[in-house]
Symmetry: C2
Subunit: 356 residues, 2 copies
């Protein structure tokens, strides 16, 4: 291999920093961006040397295939600081592996692990001061790859760009959300790309979500596209259900993203002695459990919010309320995960990766 | 409305032309681009004035939502020249309407008709010399829209760019193609975005198509994602089947693109006195018809190739051959359509639109 990704990555530092203009106590999610980004180009059949450059615009030909054929994938991860200013990532190799799973399904080139991991660590070291420390905030990290190769011909591009950018961010959702169980639209097909973090999956969710918003629901619970009888995901999060004292989630499939938060929750819940079941869940089962009082919790799980509690759901014109519990599984699991992420607890699973 | 799209569109002419470097007798499909493009931006809640500028790169923030959430849609159409150098478009308002159908489903802003139609006509007038005249070639026109608004938050962007670019092009396919009927992968879900010309639909097709290519098939016949028992589309074309003397195609749905070539073929076939049926078609029916000799033709239909004849198909490890006919429906219908497009025949349906 011509390129040695374990060598130092070339760094061009930004001449000025934007950091003084940022109010770290009032951060939205993913709206301000740090001073640098990692860039790596794929051309002539191979990945070139990655470099870190000032955060800057990207220039593309109008015929770049990203504009036409949707070859774009991404990841979402975070950097955390402990009280001694040590910096950590959470299961970053899992994000790397998932990026390559997405790449393969979208006929995009897989990235070498050293390019992703070393590039990420060097970037985070450089952007250390951009990691917010207040409760619930973090440095959101966005690795993404898209087709730069040209042509108005529906076939894979011959050139790609991989970028990692960072956004100091506050909480993703504020408060509990009311969700609508979808009966008409769907986010993915059997044999489709739902398991990939492909851009096109998200654009397809916006319109049905807007329709739900107009009816007073903040998110959509996706169901299978064939019968709409089984729940699959909660917006852009995996879904968890607590019935009595059992915690349920649905199995991953080619329609469902294999969430890192989801699998961390499953591991921790078992360690906590919680009964866990991974199986298909019918909408009818949720409704029955709601009606007989056994439905205790419903929450989404994902990197951005960790756990996003759901206060109620709508289905076929009827609304169902979740009870207000004191000690929820959701809150417990969120605390366990964020304690590991922010070095407030032991890390028996080896999930925390120290950057500097 | 503040903006009057019927006013003249501002034109900035390119100082030099690339046209002398183009070999019009050896054109690939969609690989060289003409001198100008139309650009129109959506911001502050409305479409701004369109302008025609030299074909040039586009500069975007790394956080532009096109890179992350797949808000991108496009159209494909052509400009034709007759022997007197008159220039025509074919059913352009149908492309405009479909663009807006796609826009709505992807939560993108709909474009005003005057912006699209006047912009398109002005651009084609200016690029008149780029329209190739040799048999089978044409000026391929690519209107497309994508999200420029920023944010690492999965929600619709607040800014978009609409561009029309042109590529003088030769034939899309050369010769007959062998296709694989897909048993595992699919291009769209019930309640999904398959009926929209959304970028993400195409990226999802590349990998299954590569697998088919590796097995010696040029294209994939998409089937329904639930049972894989019904045929839906042929690659990025609508599908037609001739059984004995009946021409069949499948009904459009939320999984299938409402092709302009498809509906033109249906109209012309009826006028030609051909028996036409629009109904669901089982793979089993194709195989039975192939085995009893009643399967006469199979072809894809779309703007790029008009009609793309299929020489055989594979299914569950077995290959089926189509007969070699003398006078095919495919060839007849293609001739009727291209004769209308290139002003070689009357246009009883009012499909041809003279540009200049
Ligand atoms: C569709 C979808 N499901 C689930 C998740 C949760 O995955 P993770 O926990 O890895 O962030 C995400 C991403 O955040 C997602 O986009
Ligand atoms: C998926 C798909 N089906 C069918 C077609 C044919 O549509 P049209 O005849 O309007 O070009 C296209 C586009 O060309 C397409 O992308």
């Amino acid at each position: 291999m011509a390129i040695n990704y374990t060598e130092d990555i070339q760094i061009e530092k930004s001449k000025t920093s934007k950091i003084a203009n940022v109010d770290f106590n009032n951060l939205a999610f993913g709206r301000v961006f740090s001073d640098h980004m990692l860039v790596c180009d794929f051309k002539n059949g191979e990945w070139q040397n990655p470099s870190i450059v000032p955060y800057q615009p990207v220039t593309l030909e109008p015929s770049a295939k990203i504009f036409h054929y949707g070859q774009s994938i991404f990841e979402g991860m975070k950097a955390y600081k402990d009280s001694d200013n040590n910096v950590f990532l959470f299961r970053p190799v899992d994000n790397f592996n998932r990026l390559n799973i997405s790449a393969k399904r979208l006929a995009m080139p897989e990235l070498p692990e050293a390019c992703f991991m070393n590039g990420l660590k060097e970037l985070i070291k450089l952007e250390k001061d951009w990691i917010p420390t207040s409760e619930g905030s973090s440095l959101y990290i966005r690795p993404f790859m898209f087709a730069t190769g040209q042509g108005f011909h529906a076939s894979p591009a011959n050139a790609y760009k991989f970028i990692i950018a960072c956004a100091p961010s506050g909480s993703y959702f504020s408060g509990k959300v009311k969700v609508l169980i979808e009966e008409k639209y769907s986010r993915s097909a059997n044999g489709g790309v739902g398991f990939a973090k492909a851009g096109g999956n998200y654009a397809g969710q916006f319109y049905p979500t807007q329709l739900a918003n107009n009816r007073g629901y903040q998110q959509v619970i996706w169901t299978d596209d064939n019968t709409h009888e089984y729940i699959e995901e909660a917006g852009a999060m995996n879904i968890f259900v607590r019935i009595n004292d059992t915690l349920l989630t649905v199995p991953t499939s080619d329609r469902i993203l294999d969430g890192i938060t989801r699998k961390s929750i499953l591991t921790i819940a078992e360690a906590e002695g919680i009964d866990v079941e991974v199986r298909k869940i019918k909408v009818a089962e949720l409704i029955e459990a709601s009606e007989n009082g056994s439905l205790k919790e419903l929450f989404g799980a994902g990197t951005a919010a960790v756990v996003s509690p759901i206060s109620g759901f709508g289905f076929k014109g009827k609304d169902y309320e979740l009870p207000e519990l004191e000690n929820t599984y959701g809150a417990l699991l969120k605390k366990r995960i964020t304690d590991i992420q922010t070095n407030k607890s032991d890390d028996p699973y080896g999930w925390r990766v120290k950057v500097c």
